[in-house]
């Protein structure tokens, strides 16, 4: 899945996905759930706190 496709499915901009991937931006809980839903995985599998 491309960044643009994920951005569209999660209803955010591609720049937000880039920032998330680079670990430069912490998403809101709602966005985190939306992204986890896109990949059809539990939240803790999509995001981990380091």
């Amino acid at each position: 899945m491309t960044q643009a496709e994920l951005a569209e499915k999660a209803s955010v901009t591609r720049q937000t996905i880039i920032a998330l991937e680079a670990q430069k931006y912490s998403p809101s809980l709602e966005l985190a759930f939306r992204i986890a839903n896109v990949f059809d995985v539990p939240l803790e599998e999509a995001f981990q706190y380091n």
Partner: protein
């Protein structure tokens, strides 16, 4: 065109806004200050400068913002955009309120020590307010751009 891919539509619009602020201030203030100093602020020259500034700003907006929105895909604001917008409004708020506080101090000091500072006329205060508005707008744009670039 490749560099456009690295910038979102929103970022390009903020850059355009920032450049407009800078262009207007470089055109407007060097022309208006001599008029204030000479006490000719109510002359026809002032009308000409203001009219030209407005026309230039409108032409610039049509051309540049039109080109940006034609060349890049317009995106809806997401949560990150709103967060950065709020941060930039905070900076803008501090700048404008700091400026207004500065004007109040200037008026008080002017009243107390008129001979040292010189008479603060309404046109001078209006120009100071314009400068504050410009600084506030520039600060807002710079904060947004800084946040966008910091996180990429």
């Amino acid at each position: 065109m490749k560099f456009l891919n690295n910038y979102s539509n929103r970022e390009l619009n903020i850059w355009a806004e920032l450049i407009l602020d800078i262009l207007v201030s470089f055109y407007f203030f060097p022309k208006i200050f001599p008029l204030i100093i000479d006490g000719q602020l109510y002359s026809d020259a002032l009308v000409g400068i203001i009219t030209t500034s407005i026309i230039l700003a409108i032409v610039y907006s049509i051309v540049v913002f039109g080109a940006i929105n034609a060349l890049t895909k317009r995106e809806e604001k997401d949560e990150r955009d709103y967060i950065y917008e709020l941060k930039s409004y905070r900076i803008s708020y501090y700048l404008s309120h700091g400026g207004i506080l500065g004007i109040i101090c200037l008026i008080v000091f002017n009243a107390l020590y008129q001979e040292n500072i010189g008479l603060l006329t309404p046109p001078k205060i209006a120009m100071i307010l314009l400068i504050i508005a410009l600084l506030s707008s520039t600060g807002k744009s710079l904060t947004q751009l800084f946040n966008y670039r910091k996180n990429i």
